[in-house]
Structures are given as structure tokens and as C-alpha cells.
Amino acid sequence: MPNRLPERDGEWIDRSQSVRFRFEGKTHEGFAGDVLSSALWANGVRLLGRSFKYHRPRGIYSLAGHDISSMVEDAQRTNLRGDLLPIEPNLDVRAVNTAGSLERDWLRITDHFGRFMPVGFYYKAFHTPRRLFPLYENRIRKIAGLGRVNPKGHLPPSAKDYAFCDFVVVGGGPAGLAGAIAAAEQGLKVLLVEEHPHLGGSLLWQHARDEAAREQLKDLLSRADALENLTIRCGTQVAGWYADHWLALVDAERLTKLRAMCTLVATGCFEQPAVFGNNDLPGVMLSSAARRLIYLYRVRPFERAVVLTGNREGYGVALDLLQAGVHVVAVVDLRANGEMSDLAESVAAAGIEIFKHHAVYEAVASRDKTSVVGAILCPLNEQGGPESIGRVKLSCDGIVMSVGWTPASGIAYQAGLRFEYDERVEQLIPESESDRVFVAGRAAGVFDLESQMEDGRRAGLAAAAACGRFEGDIPERPVHTGPPPSHPYPIMPHPGKKNFVDLDEDLHLADFKNAHQEGFDNIELIKRFTTVGMGPTQGKLSNFNAIRILSRLNGATINETGSTVSRPFHQPVSMAKLSGRRFHPMRHTPLHAQHLALSANMIHAGSWLRPEYYKIDDSSRADCILSEAENVRSGVGVIDLSTLGKLHFCGPDAARFLEQIYTGTFSEQRVGRLRYALGCDEQGIIIEDGVVARLSEHHFYVTATSSGAAGFYRDLQRWALLFEMDVTLVNETGHLAAINLAGPKAREVLRSLSDFALDDDAFPYLAVRQGHVAGAEALLMRIGFVGELGYEIHIPAGTATHVWQKLLEAGRELEIRPFGVEAQRLLRLEKGHLIVGQDTDALTHPYEADLGWAIKAKKPFFIGSRSLQILAARPLARQLVGLALPQSSKVPLPEECHLIIEDGEIAGRITSVAHRTTLGQPIAMAFVTPEMASPGREVTIRVAGGKLLVATVVPMPFYDPENSRQKVAD
């Protein structure tokens, strides 16, 4: 590790743990605590990646998580940022977006064609001819882009969790630490979130030479450590702020949804680059990156460096470099008067040449263009632009940029704060704070170290006051004094070289001028046209320079130009974190294990798992289903109906309430009897159907559709409140099981297990009785959804297995068999019973579905009554009819939703179909126009493959039109 510096207090690396890793097929060595970029730089590797569009070589730039051109991938993961990725044994990565290898990437040829690819050329060049667009798209996606997702990769699901606190502090620098401590000292439950592995923020690198600052950090950490109500999470990013003070925290293991009463944004600033020729070469880096290398990872950034500055910090950086053994060739100051402080004197005293009112005009590239070999300086004219005379070329292998900052304000923006440009600091600062969201430190334009901590304390006390834990005076925010820490326009036009504004998207200065010339003179428009700020860093290093450029092009101020909107996520979040552990609640009936034991093929029905059919040896699915149906028709079958909605309506107004909910009448319903119930919405659309059983004068038991029960019950509760009725509603859907015993031999099976009188007089069709079945408390309803003698047995869920087993046992000699959902669908179709949601849609009203008989229009009111009155007066647009399908045809039979065609137009659709039935005749239910609804009318169905099949309208039900099977007496 030729560039590794000697050990120093505060370094992040653990020299006792040597780590070997592989990059681009070569083995390197670093220390635990290194990130990939720092370890490679320590080993003299400067080519870390290629750029997005031109495949230009890139190295360390920010070393703060914004170096998207040094992204890598391994066998499982992609788009890992080298400046954040910790090295570990067995790490084996290669750069993303290269063809061949990083060094020999043959797509680097695109850099030579840059002049032919101005911003927006995609939009102009590739939309014609249209047929070639897929080819263009495919090629462009392969040339420009990031990493590739490995579809075979598998990462274990990461956990998600919730957390709660009074006060969350985002950023563990001086302001954040001071704010967290101040709030915690007032008794708030505080969570301090720091994205880096260690607390300290800028104290760790910006003030690292300052012994007093180091002591202050130790003091802050010690005080924080002593506070039990202050929790610290390092290595955790705040990815977004959402309404009601929800924040998304992301660490290596999980995504946390944090609910905080108050938020302090103490996120500091993003250092901003200068714009000059070749300002993206490996070796050109931000001063904060150089300082991080020196103090956190103990890596010497360069041998010979030129420092370009527009503020006081540049001089401090020069001294830091000097101390790290770097030969600082020159400090190039953009300001006419240079730096007046003691730092400038120290720099001069060290023999470093200072070029005032000069700029770096161009970074000189090595022959292979993968490193810096020099810097061309130019004097500046009165407007701050480059002079063409008086240029100087200096030999160096590194150029450090220290020209200014922009606040890391994404979270604050998302929390609803607004920022304005302040010329005292030449950056955006918050216009104001809300009563629960605060900004402190450099993010608020406070740069002096003491002032940052003072500002943090102010915010901490303000949060304590907002939470009712502090009643004293809240101090004012400190005001910045002295020269601004940022230069107002660190941008040097260079007509001959690419001078990058956005390294994410490979956008250079000329792109903005071209876009502006084309009329994109608004910040939001120019963002969309150039894609500035739309790369992986979301413009953290480019947006503000883009605003400066556009302001100058428009002759407007920064505030007049405005800025773009910040949306979550503030930092990239992996899809694995977002998906996390999956919660997909699945409902099982109490008989689930019984179905599995009987070889059921289970299917999803809404949130439920239900038996589709029961497999029999080698029989096909269709054979199994038909066999189950035939067994019901000829003997006895049993089906699990536990998914049915099961509701109780109790109280003095129960009957009246039912009459307002459903279209029928129930006040006169006799105790012990059943009635069909049809529910509509206010538009008269069918939304529910079921059976109402009157158990006593004031007690009704009602079944509802499996898929609609939960929503229907919610609606019922709302209506009960609105109608102001004395009715008690109870939803026992999951608490009761239901089993339908159906078939001509059903009574015989039941007789041996129940204490009911089952003869026709005592228990007629459409009656309800309460008693016991197999010893279990049970409610029985005699109904015939499948068109046979049938008893719905409703029992407590805990007894379902026992009753089910007893039924099968009792019916063994009668060859009882379970039947599944598909057999039930077939049987009810033969009987002409519709299923709400399958044979009806979001526009179906009762008259279309031949359910007009279920509407008791003389009632004073029920939900949908007014709409149904109107619909009744209108001619029907369609009708639900039965269709007889040909028994043998070369044309395939239709499936559900196949269309009915008349004169080349759509005239209807199939809602239910059965190819094999107990009738020996394929049948269907379909919507057709009223003109086509007469029995005997032939209709044409467009089936699979576009072929046409002729079917005949027939009366429904297809089976037992006299209903004699359901009413069969003992």
C-alpha cells in the first residue's frame, strides 16, 4: 500500500485487520474500515470506473457516496458505490458499465463522438423511422447505463421494522451532536442518525488539524454516551421524510420506518465542484475527498497537487496536504483579493505559490487519459472569465477543488421547508423552520464551528419546547460573518475540452448552453431536457452549478431561477431493502389440513386458500371436477364453505336496517325461515348477495359473498351509524366454519349425526334451525345453491374438523365425497345461479341479471332505490342469458370473457362457462343485447384464435327448472 500514511488518532481503519479483496480480477490488500475506493487509492489504483455515457475514466471525486462512476458489482449485487462499500474478505467486484474490461473498455470510443451527441440528440435522432426505435433503444441501453441486474441472484429478504422517538437528529456532526444532546438533556427520547460508520461529521476531516476541535468532539461524544435517552445509529441513511413525521432509515440490514415528533436536519453540506476542462479526470477531486483520504483512511491522495479554491478552506486543505507529505505546487484562488487570513500566511510561509484571481483552466491528461499530469492556469478577467493570455502550466498529479458548498437539504425540502439564496454565504439557506422541523449547522449556512454547535443547541431546545419539555427562551440562530464559504460562479468555459457539470449524466457546460438556446430556460424544463440531476446522485454535485449556469444565461438571480423539487429517496435504496420481509396475509379455513389430507388441489380465492378439486389418482382435472359434480347429483357431497361471510344483525332495529341495506323485505319474515338478499350500491349496482336467516324477532343471521364480506361489513357499520339505528352488528366470518352437505342422500347422512327433526314438515326448504351436529353447536340452513337437497351447517371454527370427519364417516356407505370450488361452480351454473363478481361486473344492475323479482320497490327506502327506479324505467342495455353450446365442433369452446359478436360489433360476453357438465351439454352464461335474449336465438362467440362459434340462447336454469330437487321430501 504505497500511499498509506502513518497511523493517526481518529482514523477509521483497523491496521490490525488486513483484508484481501479482488477488483477487476486482481487481488489487492487494505485494512478493515477501508472502503473500496480508499483501499484501491492506497494501492495506487486510480482508475476506478467509467462514466455513464462517454465511458471516460473516473477516480475518487467526493469519497462521500456520490462517486457514481466508481460503482461496482459482484455476483449478487450491482451498482455498489465504491466510495461507500466496505472491503471485506472474499469481496470480488468489477466496475459496472464497461465493455471488455475497465482498462480496455472499448466503448471509450464514444468519448470521441461527443460533439455528435449533444444534449437531446436522442429525442431528435431516434424517433424516426419508428420501426428502428427498438434497435436504437436496445443499443443505447447497452452503451449507456449502470450495472446489470443478475436475474439469477438471490438475496435473503431483509427485515423491516418500526421505531419511535420524540426527536430525530439527522447528521452526527457538530450541530447534530449538540442538538441531540441539548434535547436529550431536556428529557426527550432522541435518536441520532449518522450515515457514516462514526460520529463527528466535518469535525473528523475539515477540522482534523485543529487540536481544540478534536477535544470538542471527544467532549460531545462523551456527553452523548452518558445520556440514556439518546440512541445513536451510525451507518444509517435517512432516505426520505414523509407526512406525519415518518422517516425511512436504511442501514446495512434493514429499512426502519421511524415516527418522530420533531426532526433536526443537521446534514451539513455537499461540497461542490468547479467546472473546467477535463475536470473529471482521475486525480481531480473535491477538497473534502482529499481530506477524507488523509484523515479517515490515511491515504496520501497525490504526490504533487494544485489546489483550486474560492474560499478560506482551500488554504486549510493545502496545509493538510502538505502535512500528509504532498508537494503542493500552487494554490489557485478565484477571488481577486485572495485570502486575507492567517491561513494564507501559513501557506505562503510554507513556500506554496498563490495565484490570486486565477483559475484552473484545464486538467492536463496523461497519454492514456486515465490520470492528471498537469494543470493549466489562467488569469481571470473582470467578469471572472478566463483570460487567453498569461496562462501557466504546472506539473502535478492531482487537482483539489475547494470552491464552495450546497446544503444537504433534501430531507428538509421533503419536510416542507423552503430555501432561499443568501449572498452572505453564497448558498441556499432555509427561509424559515416549521414548529417541528429544524435545520442547523452548515445546512443552514452556519459555518463557524462554535456557531454550528450553538445552532444545534438552539434546534435541540426548540424541539424540546415543541414537545412541551422546555419553557425557556430559544436563542436566535447565529449569523455567518466574514467572506462567503462559497464562490458565486466557479465555472470556467473551455471550448476545446469537456468541462463537466454533471458527472452522473456526463453533461458538460456546452449542453446547458445548447439547451438554453433551444428554449429550455426554466430550471424544471432544462432538468428534463438535459437530465441534469436525474442520475444516481440526484444532482447532489451538479444541481446548484446548473442553477448558477441557468441564472447567468437568463440574466436572473438564483432566487428568481429557483430550484427543482426534492423527493424521496434522498439516497439510493436497494430494491431488496424496499421489498424486505413480505407480509401477504393468507387465510386458511379450519379444514385446510383436511383438504390437504384428501389430496385437494388448493387455489387462491381472494385472500383465502380453497380446494379447487380433489385429485384422484391419474384422473385429469376436468374428470375430477365432473366426477365430484356427478356425485352430488346422484348421491351426496360435502364442501367447505367456511369462506362465506357470516354476519349477525341484532337489536330492535335489525329488520328495519336489513330492509334499508338490501332490496328485499324482512320485517315480515318468519322466525326460522330464510330469504334471498340482494345488496346494491347507491347507483343500483349489484355488490352483494346472500341469505338472511331470522333466528328470533330481533336476531338475523346473514351470509355474504366470500370475497366481499370484509368490505361489506365495513359498509354496514358505516350505514348503521348514518341511519342512527339501534342495531348490533357482529362479523363471525372467520370464527365460524360452514359445510354444505348436498345431494339427494344428504338428509340420510345428517340424520345419524344431528338432534334435528329433518323431515320436510319440521325442516322445510328455506328453513333455518339451531341445534347440534356431531355434538357441536350448529346452525343449519336448508338451501340449494347447487340445485340439490342441501344443508349448510354453520359451526364454531374449532369444531369444524371434528364435524367434517364425522360427516365423511357417516356418509361412507353412501359414498360421500368432498367437492371443490370448481364442481360447485359447475353445479350452480347448471342451476342458473349467478356469482356476484363473476357473472356481474361493476355496472350490472338487478334488471340486467334477471333479479328484478328481488327488488321490493314499495319500501320507503333502501340503498340504491332511487337509482333502481330510474333504471327500471329505461330499456335494458343487456341481459344475462343461458347459452347452449355445440356438443361437437371443430371450433374450440369459449372461455370466460370471450366476446359475443353481432354484425362485426361486440354484443356481449361470456360470464361463466362449463365445457363438461352433468347434463352432457356444454353451457354458458352470457350478457347479450336484449334483442338477442330470446330463447332459440343464435349468437356468435369469438373464441380462442379468433374463430367464431355459434351458440343458442336457452332458458335458465339449465337443470331442474321446477326446483323439485331442492325441495325433495323425506
Binding site: A159, K160, D161, Y162, A163, F164, K257, R259, R581, F583, H584, P585, M586, R587, H588, T589, P590, H592, A593, W608, S642, H648, C650, G651, P652, L695, S696, E697, H698, H699, D726, T728, V730, E732, T733, G734, H735, L736, L753, D755, H772, A774, G775, A776, P796, A797, G798, T799, A800, T801, H802, K806
Partner: protein, 204 residues
């Protein structure tokens, strides 16, 4: 007449693997243990006359909504709403059956509610941590014996924080049709936390 056999909604799931040995249960309880108590008899009482009727039965009716109170004979009563109560027996005896028998048959102002809820106990020092992975409610601020309606792993649940075996534990009730799903989900998380299923005997 054959005798009725009640089963927990987790009956088949729990029978598919042996109960953990006492030492394993103890180890799991050192993190978070999950125990099925679905078979404890339960009864719901709902209606405008529910509170009055329960008082007539000499039960100590909680006055505030979401408050709970122990029953003299063991078990507890929870006020789920102004007019709704949940009673859970403390053992598998049939004491609630008698109460159910005494309920008015007309359901005019007092209606019986079948409560076949799945019931789980979450016990151990990491129980709250497990809930934080599945539930957006801040239980740390919720006092013991104060009932909470919330969603756990997407399932609507009623939760009663309690002191169990010297730690904050949770008694959870929910629709039994979700029992298998929620059990699998919670056991997976508990296992990651060093816990898992425990036998009810291990709770003694």
C-alpha cells in the same frame, strides 16, 4: 351423540413437529417465545345492554374502553368498545359455557358473539422487538393490561400487553383464519431473534 372435539386453528401445524424440550423452551424464552393459547374458551358479548348484563352476572366490568380486568375464577375481561366485551377463561374448563347459557335468547340488547379467535402469547425480553418488525404501533408507550387494536404483519389483531415471566409480554387475539400465516411469520422472526415456539407448559 359423539363428543365434540375443539381444535386450535394451529392444531395441525403444531402437531407436525414435536414440542420443544423444556431446556429449549427456556432458551427461547430468553429471547422471545411464542405460545399458542387459542384453546382457552372465549365469549364475546355485544350490544347496548352488554355492560349492564355483565354487571348483573357479578363480573367486574372495566369502565373504560380498552381497559381489562382479571376474572375471579381466572382469565380476564376486556372492554373492546362502549358496547362490546371479550371474556377469556383462564383455563380449559367450561366456566364460560354457563355464562353463555344465561344470555338472553332474543338478542334484543345483548348479543352473544362467537369468539374462536386464535390466541398467542409473545413472551421474552425481545418480544417488543419482534412486534416492531411487524407492527407500526408504539407498544413502549402502552401500559400493561391496556388493550390495543392494531395490525401485526398485515393482520388485524387485538393486543394486551402484560407482564409475563418477568418481562413485557403480549397476549394477541385475531381471526383464526389467519392463524397459520401469522404463526409462520412470527416464528420465522422469533427464530432470527434467537427464540421460537414454546410449549405452554414452559410458561409455568
Amino acid at each position: 351423540m359423539p363428543e365434540t372435539i375443539r381444535q386450535s386453528p394451529l392444531h395441525d401445524r403444531l402437531n407436525s413437529e414435536p414440542l420443544p424440550a423444556a431446556d429449549l423452551s427456556a432458551a427461547r424464552l430468553g429471547a422471545v417465545g411464542i405460545c399458542d393459547v387459542s384453546l382457552l374458551p372465549k365469549l364475546g358479548v355485544k350490544g347496548t345492554g352488554a355492560a349492564g348484563w355483565l354487571a348483573e352476572q357479578w363480573l367486574k366490568v372495566p369502565e373504560e374502553v380498552y381497559a381489562s380486568a382479571p376474572l375471579e375464577a381466572g382469565g380476564l375481561i376486556v372492554r373492546l368498545g362502549a358496547d362490546e366485551f371479550l371474556i377469556e377463561a383462564g383455563s380449559l374448563d367450561e366456566s364460560l359455557a354457563a355464562l353463555r347459557e344465561r344470555m338472553p335468547g332474543d338478542a334484543l340488547h345483548v348479543a352473544p358473539v362467537a369468539r374462536e379467535d386464535a390466541g398467542l402469547l409473545l413472551v421474552g425480553p425481545r418480544a417488543t422487538e419482534m412486534l416492531l418488525q411487524t407492527c407500526g404501533y408504539e407498544f413502549a408507550k402502552s401500559p400493561d393490561q391496556r388493550f390495543v387494536y392494531t395490525r401485526i404483519a398485515g393482520v388485524s389483531c387485538g393486543v394486551l400487553p402484560q407482564q409475563i415471566l418477568g418481562n413485557r409480554g403480549y397476549r394477541i387475539w385475531f381471526d383464526p383464519s389467519y392463524a397459520l400465516y401469522l404463526w409462520e411469520t412470527l416464528v420465522e422472526i422469533a427464530t432470527e431473534l434467537g427464540g421460537g415456539m414454546v410449549d405452554a407448559a414452559g410458561m409455568q
